[in-house]
């Protein structure tokens, strides 16, 4: 897991990161339907990076208007909880419905 989206994304969800990502690893994308039961763009509070799909290119970092995306090593201490938040959404390349439900309820 090399890149993490942290608190500033909440309430922003700008999606410039989704547009620049060369491997479409930032979810949920606007207008995209998923067949694994994950919530759609409008239903989430923030975006998430699938670390299995991510190629660590870093293209998303400079385009985020609210500086929400960090390489793991650069993630500010105060936002380390977002490592777990991200894992609750996607882990091992798969959406985690149970963990996600529990975390967002």
């Amino acid at each position: 897991m090399a890149y993490i989206i942290a608190e500033p994304c909440i309430g922003t969800k700008d999606t410039a990161c989704v547009d620049v990502c060369p491997v479409d690893c930032i979810h949920p994308a606007k207008g995209r339907a998923y067949d694994d039961g994950r919530p759609r763009f409008d239903e989430v509070t923030q975006l998430y990076i699938d670390p299995t799909e991510c190629i660590d290119c870093g293209a998303c970092v400079p385009v985020c208007p609210v500086t929400a995306i960090f390489a793991l090593d650069d993630l500010p201490e105060k936002w380390h909880a977002y490592i777990e938040t991200n894992k609750n959404y996607v882990d091992g390349g798969k959406f985690q419905p149970d963990k996600y439900q529990k975390a967002s309820s």
Binding site: A16, V20, P22, I55, C57, G58
Partner: protein
């Protein structure tokens, strides 16, 4: 790193491999990432960037020049013994932890990598290549796809001067860039680094665009050779090597496949260096998959017959090698086995024309003083 970046951002011109999108975004086609790039940002390679809705790409410099034997690229079925005048620029679309050219490839990502660019014109490069006795000109060291426009400019002049041209590439291409290169590139080497998409993502890419590029290169008639750097614990399982070589044999059993030995470099310092036994095992898997020309590189004298070319039909020894050195050459002038007459796929000169060098060198008789500050 600002200084290096500033220098690189001056030596540019508008690219040809891109399309303009709305909101001043562009989409680049130079490599398989097909980056959508907003105004003011570079692509993943960090050397192609969008300024004002125009994509600017590297132009008019080299990051390294060296005279290598063509066997080092490696091309073993193309003009054996030829001197390959090799140039590179800076940057890469991948970020392999074991890169052996990381000083140039990661110059824009890693502050520890310092390789300053030197301004040069394509005509100066060709004159230098002629002076050194080069027969082939190769874009290598960094990823040539991301600097395709400059490579084509150099190759146009190279062709006019009678050179053969080549790319030494990671193969993360697109149909658009291959169309663009096809008139100007004769030889194309692809590093097929793994057959596992998860491994490729660790290196900064995906497997599929590379497989698509390999198929397309063969279909379009580039002379194609494939290299796999065998890394213990990363890509050397029997299963992965079997799937990889079955894929290659499915494209064509005539594609030469080179397995080379990993040595600890850059950030990947945990795996053991690759043993000759592992290379020989990998080569055997390739032969079982149906590949007719399998070579084990960079462990001269330790891999038996795997440095040599033999006729797949009658087993006659056709080209005998030790490392990059040609010890014997027995092909007929039209590239056939002298014993059974089988045609051997490749780009062959009418005869072996000797070998200027069996090892890489940087000349001491450069025409321009700034060319002396090279990859040393």
């Amino acid at each position: 790193m600002n200084t290096l970046r500033e220098i690189i951002y001056e030596d540019v011109r508008e690219g040809e491999l891109y399309e303009k999108l709305d909101r001043n975004w562009v989409r680049c086609f130079a490599c398989g990432h097909c980056c959508k790039i907003p105004e003011g940002q570079p692509g993943v390679c960090k050397v192609r960037y969008n300024r004002g809705g125009t994509l600017y790409v590297p132009w008019g410099y080299v990051g390294a020049i060296q005279c290598d034997p063509i066997e080092k690229k490696p091309f073993l079925h193309a003009y054996p013994g030829a001197l390959a005048y090799s140039f590179g620029m800076l940057g890469c679309d991948l970020h392999c932890g074991y890169c052996q050219n990381w000083v140039t490839s990661q110059a824009l990502r890693d502050p520890a990598a310092v390789a300053g660019p030197m301004r040069v014109t394509s005509a100066e490069l060709i004159l230098d290549a002629i002076r050194q006795g080069g027969r082939v000109i190769v874009s290598t060291y960094n990823e040539p796809l991301i600097t395709s426009e400059w490579a084509v400019a150099v190759f146009k002049e190279a062709r006019a001067a009678g050179f053969v041209t080549g790319f030494v590439s990671n193969g993360n291409g697109t149909p658009q860039v291959l169309e663009y290169l096809r008139p100007w590139v004769d030889l194309y080497k692809v590093d097929l680094k793994s057959f596992d998409d998860r491994h490729y993502r660790q290196l900064g890419g995906r497997l599929q665009p590379i497989l698509d590029t390999i198929r397309l290169l063969h279909k379009m008639g580039f002379w194609l050779e494939i290299v796999t750097l065998v890394i213990p614990g990363f890509n050397d399982s029997d299963d992965e090597l079997t799937r990889l070589t079955e894929f290659l044999a499915g494209v064509s059993p005539d594609i030469p496949w080179h397995v080379t030995a990993f040595h600890r470099d850059y950030k990947m310092i945990d795996p053991e260096n690759t043993s000759a036994e592992t290379l020989i095992r990998a080569a055997e898997i390739g032969k079982q998959a149906g590949l007719r020309y399998v070579y084990a590189g960079n462990l001269p004298g330790e891999v038996g017959d795997l440095e040599n070319t033999r006729c797949p039909n009658c087993k006659t020894l056709l080209i005998e090698r030790f490392g990059y050195l040609i010890l014997g050459y027995h092909l007929t002038p039209n590239g056939c086995c002298p014993s059974c007459g089988s045609s051997i796929p490749g780009k062959w000169a009418p005869g072996f024309q000797g070998q200027i060098t069996a090892r890489p060198f940087v000349s001491h008789t450069r025409p321009r003083s700034d060319l002396l500050v090279l990859n040393s």
